[in-house]
Amino acid sequence: MVKKKANPDRSICVACGVCVLQCPRNALSIHKGCYAVVDNEKCVGCGLCAKACPANAINIVEKQEVANG
């Protein structure tokens, strides 16, 4: 099954944390002050983070989901 997920680009992320504040499902976190990471289990691909990201570091991509996790 194909599902939409947020996909933060570590190389351009500035770790400001705006995406974390926007995420309605707490799917995002800032890893050690370096970059944003997404929890694919929680992410529903709504795109609120991508819209807020000032560095345009987040794309919403379609990810193939493996059956049963």
Partner: protein, 198 residues
């Protein structure tokens, strides 16, 4: 689900955008309050050096919050993507270097007043160029003149960077400033160094 909490709980630090307005208001009446801005300089560094995180940027930055309140809640931002170079590494570190140089110049001017080689100038400088009279904000205190000189210099720095942030907020995304904020660049750099150590 237990771990998908609804975002209803408000924390005290979510209102720190009020602080960034209060700061400029206080400095308008007495320039010595400009020193309080050092909190915004030192706290993020402590978080980065001790904790290895950007918790300050992520949760406590009053300036970032202010851009969000004005840009998103009050719809003062176009919300357009900023040009890529604005968040590129060379621009971020270039701007940090420029900012630190200007900070150093300001400290040197404070030193000149301290040593007696310079005199206190009751003015602020916007964008490192435009001199604005600000003499009402200081009419002597128990502190020596250099303390006030630092206040004028630091207030200039804070006001200038906020104005730059407001301009990019209007033109681009709400918190575009965050992408090249010198404190943000510095703390992320420290965090990356710390993360690589382990």
């Amino acid at each position: 689900m237990a771990n998908t909490k609804i975002k209803a709980k408000k924390h005290w630090y979510q209102y720190l955008w009020i602080w960034s307005i209060v700061y400029f208001a206080l400095g308008f009446f007495n320039i010595l309050f400009a020193w309080l801005g050092m909190i915004d300089f030192i706290l993020p560094l402590i978080f980065a050096i001790v904790g290895g995180n950007k918790w300050f940027c992520n949760n406590m930055c009053g300036r970032g919050q202010l851009f969000w309140v004005l840009g998103r809640n009050m719809k003062c931002s176009r919300g357009k993507p900023a040009p890529k170079w604005l968040s590129s590494k060379w621009f971020r570190y270039g701007f940090l270097a420029f900012f630190l140089t200007m900070f150093g110049t300001m400290v040197f001017q404070t030193y000149l007043v301290f040593s007696g080689a310079g005199t206190l100038r009751k003015a602020i400088k916007l964008f490192w160029t435009f001199k604005v009279p600000w003499q009402w904000a200081y009419s002597g205190s128990v502190f020596p003149d250099w303390v006030a000189q630092f206040g004028f210099g630091f207030y200039s720095l804070m006001l200038t960077s906020t104005l730059i942030g407001l301009i990019v907020m209007v033109l681009y995304k709400e918190r575009t400033w965050c992408t090249f904020c010198p404190m943000g660049t510095m703390t992320q750099g420290i965090c990356q160094l710390k993360a690589n150590e382990k």
